[in-house]
Assembly symmetry: C2
Homo-oligomer: 115 residues x 2
């Protein structure tokens, strides 16, 4: 079979078991298919999706934002709504990049001063 046990999925994604369950509970991933005995079986698609979620989490998006993203990709909203939402999110991320560049600028100033 080409599914992964929870431990293997955690290992592959770098996300802890607890957090994987948490994400599933929060609707960010899954629901993950279960074995007859009730154990989770992660597919490669699941792993890929978890990677996306992790990517956005690392970029600083909150759980609620991610939930919105999931809802969007699964929903039956018209394409233009999706694009509007995506552009909005994109702009927010660009603003975060700008904030980081401001902070980096301050650091560079200080480094120049002490260097």
């Amino acid at each position: 079979m080409d599914t992964l046990t929870p431990a293997a999925a955690a290992d592959r994604t770098g996300v802890s078991l607890e957090t994987l369950r948490y994400y599933e509970r929060e609707g960010l991933i899954g629901p993950i298919r279960r074995s007859p005995g009730g154990r989770r079986e992660y597919t490669e698609d699941d792993v890929f999706w978890i990677g996306l979620v992790t990517c956005f989490r690392e970029a600083g998006l909150g759980i609620a934002d991610l939930r919105g993203f999931v809802a969007l990709l699964r929903a039956e909203h018209p394409a233009q709504d999706r694009v509007a939402f995506l552009r909005e999110r994109r702009a927010a991320l660009e603003e975060r990049v700008a904030a980081l560049h401001r902070a980096i600028g301050v650091l560079d100033e200080k480094i120049a001063y002490y260097g």
Copy 2:
């Protein structure tokens, strides 16, 4: 006098009164000079410094990080230690920028797909 009341300082910096007190308590700013009656009097320098703190907070640095930054700028550590610390912080911020760009890339993909 050219000092600001707490309310004025909050207004100028965009930081709430409570948060200003919190930052002072945590050692991120001040201690702020007091009037005979015990009220805080913010100077322009204080306001400037609060701006720096806000800049770094917006960039995602934590309170502990900021405390380290404050300690550095006030401390008697050798210049090379300061520079090392600053470069380290800078690298961490660059990594955050990279994470943001990865997320933006994903959004762009989706936008292209739906657009």
